[in-house]
Amino acid sequence: MISISNVSKQYRGSARPALNNVSLEVAKGDFVFLVGASGSGKSSLMRLMLREDVPSKGSVHVLGENLVGIPSRRVPFFRRRLGVVFQDFRLLPNKTVAQNVAFSLEVIGKSQGFIQEAVPEVLRLVGLEGKADRLPSELSGGEQQRVALARAIVNKPALLLADEPTGNLDPATSQDIMALIERINLAGTTVIMATHDRGIVDRLKKRVVELKDGEIIRDQVGGSY
């Protein structure tokens, strides 16, 4: 599913590499927490897996694609096969909940028929039935993250990348979102989640990969923060 080997990433104008000789294997159906302080390299690693960046050294394979050698015109097609959520939701403020989800299907050229069927279904799945016509500004943070999750999984991706999805949410709402992400994982989607939330990591007892100063210092199955 994901195979990262001996990856280093050096950003221009910074003396210390953001990632230093990192290797990581993730199997299909895994649930992996990426933990570590700010600046430890979590986001850099996520960016490499999304092919928003290429490593300075090493190789990155995700969903069978070699992300170092992939031609840029094929990157969009690679990204269609995974879902992404962020701390700041990244919803379009002038579109309704349903339109936000539909937008991601329209821009990859799905048919209207497919969209009309898939959008209500995925909104039901994340518990937002009845809110399809609301604007993001009329929703709570937790509900907005549900919209983002709905958008990420509407294409039934094999991999979900979540970059601090609970970072802006209160503990109770975070639990709801985590329950949803767990359900997505149980349905067969591999989940990689970067987080600062100690409580969540400790409670779920999943695989924990800890980064410090751009290196992996712990890779523990059933670990805690």
Binding site: R73, F77, R79, R81, R90, S104, V107, I108
Partner: protein
């Protein structure tokens, strides 16, 4: 596709003033290009027409000629016969298509016709106008031969190739059309810059959507097409307006105004105009596509 068009429409609404300026700048610059090319066509047509008819005039001395070239005053019958003999001679006649003699009365009649209604027609007398041998050459570029044979010959006041008048007119017209092309080039350049700025603004105002489109895997083509279309549609509107303006100039100014006042000149017509219009539109579209393409490479890295 429906999505792409709604994006283009949205972009238009968002940057209406920029779009209008792109339309206007392409409109005006392409109108200049169109007018300049029509002027070139006109010059070509007039050259063909007039060079064909251009003659060499051998002006004989008259009573009012300057005494340093015509010390004997009015050219005598003998002197005129000598010129005629020279024109008929073996050496010259091989270059000459035909020639004819115009006496004082004929010259006066022609003059009266040419300057009809002009005050000068009242004061001129037949005696003041030169008697002239009008020589039509087989090859109008070889006027040098006549000029050299008759300059300084007794009784000849001046030898004049009509082409020298024409060349002056043509060089003025040519300069005008070059100036128009120069202005057009500058304006086309600014049109290209405007298009690229419009796209940059447009991309900036849509950066949130663009970020999301990238994340969910919209193809580069899908992301870029609305921007390219925005520039191309604006430029196409401008070039269609320019085409209309060029046709209007041909129809109402050239055919309606100039042709009526200068009946003996053949002017470019609507058929020539219709040749220019598709070129203008194609030029507008290509320009816009290039400018948008380059702008997108700079501001829309995927």
């Amino acid at each position: 596709m429906k999505f792409v068009f709604s994006e283009v429409a949205q972009g238009f609404r968002r940057n209406l003033s920029m779009v209008v300026s792109v339309v206007l700048v392409t409109f005006i610059s392409l109108t200049f290009v169109g007018t300049a090319s029509l002027l070139q066509m006109q010059i070509g047509q007039m050259k063909n027409y007039w060079y064909d008819r251009a003659q060499v005039a051998v002006y004989m001395c008259s009573d009012v000629s300057a005494t340093d070239v015509c010390p004997q005053g009015e050219a005598s019958e003998d002197l005129k016969a000598a010129v005629k003999a020279k024109l008929e001679s073996q050496t010259l006649s091989q270059y000459i298509d035909k020639y004819y003699f115009e006496n004082h009365d004929q010259a006066y009649a022609t003059f009266q016709e040419q300057f009809k209604g002009n005050a000068v027609a009242k004061y001129v007398t037949a005696k003041q106008l030169n008697e002239t041998y009008w020589v039509k050459l087989k090859d109008s570029t070889k006027s040098q031969i006549i000029t050299e044979s008759f300059s300084g010959v007794a009784g000849v006041e001046e030898v004049r190739d009509q082409r020298s008048y024409l060349d002056q007119i043509f060089s003025i017209l040519n300069a005008a059309s070059l100036a128009a092309i120069g202005i057009a080039t500058l304006m086309l350049f600014s049109a290209a810059l405007l298009i690229s700025t419009t796209i940059r603004l447009s991309a900036f105002s849509r950066r949130r959507e663009l970020g999301i489109m990238r994340l969910v895997g919209a193809s580069n083509f899908y992301i870029q097409l609305p921007f390219i279309l925005e520039g191309v549609v604006a430029a196409t509107i401008g070039s269609i307006l320019a085409g209309g303006a060029v046709l209007a100039i041909v129809q109402f100014f050239v055919q309606g105004y100039l042709a009526e006042r200068l009946p003996f000149t053949s002017f470019v017509g609507l058929t020539d105009g219709l040749l220019v219009v598709p070129v203008l539109i194609a030029a507008g579209i290509v320009l816009a596509a290039l400018a948008s393409g380059l702008a997108i490479r700079r501001y829309l890295r995927i």
